[in-house]
Amino acid sequence: MTKSELIQRLAEQSPHLYLRDVEKIVETVFEEITAALSRGDRVELRGFGAFSVKHRDARTGRNPRTGESVQVEAKSLPFFKTGKALRESLNEKKSDDYAAQSDSAGSDDGGSSYF
């Protein structure tokens, strides 16, 4: 699913909204998360997950091909940790209907979220 597909699906769920409003909502949410991370803040979305920033100190790295030493600058990296509820729903199918997977495979392509 791409961002425009996400917008499309949300628009189908909210027929009273203009597509451009849905677009703006999606942009606003991800812009807000990005802005928070660039301030060094953490974004905690219970059940879904948390975005945070991890700091990496400067180090002397090595070019694996040439063996040359390279100075790697300190940097910050965005990081996502999956929330408990999402992690569990990701794995519950597999554990209790592992055997039923073959018969669900044919039927789940018209997933409920399309409606």
């Binding site: 990005t34 060094g40 803040d41």
Partner: protein
């Protein structure tokens, strides 16, 4: 400077301010976005959000773990995990502390304790 935590309520507030929906509807839409992403991932489909990042599923094989306290070996069942890869745009924004984001123009005066 103490870092803060942004929550659903803050995202809903931003939607409320910038899009002009009611507060309730803003909250619902934030939830709908997260639900849609979650459901897509649970179905096994990857989610790619341009200029933000992508979420993909990685299947982990079974391995033998060990309870660090008791030293007892326990099998860890095969499972799925979500991997988030930040886009370059996001990585750059996280690193460019000196460049203010387009949406927030005032918050970087060095140590902005005056923000509150």
């Amino acid at each position: 400077m103490d870092n803060q935590t942004v929550t659903r309520a803050d995202l809903a507030e931003a939607v409320y301010e910038q899009v002009g929906l009611s507060r309730n509807e803003s909250t619902d839409l934030v939830e709908a976005i997260l639900d849609e992403i979650s459901n897509t991932l649970v179905k096994g489909e990857n989610v790619k959000l341009s200029s933000f990042g992508s979420f993909s599923i990685r299947e982990k094989g079974e391995r033998i773990g060990r309870n660090p306290k008791t030293g007892v070996e326990v099998p860890i069942k095969p499972r799925k995990v979500i991997v988030f890869r930040a886009s370059h745009v996001l990585k750059d924004r996280v690193n460019s502390k000196s460049v203010a984001a387009p949406a927030e123009n005032t918050s970087f005066g060095g140590f902005s304790d005056d923000e509150l």
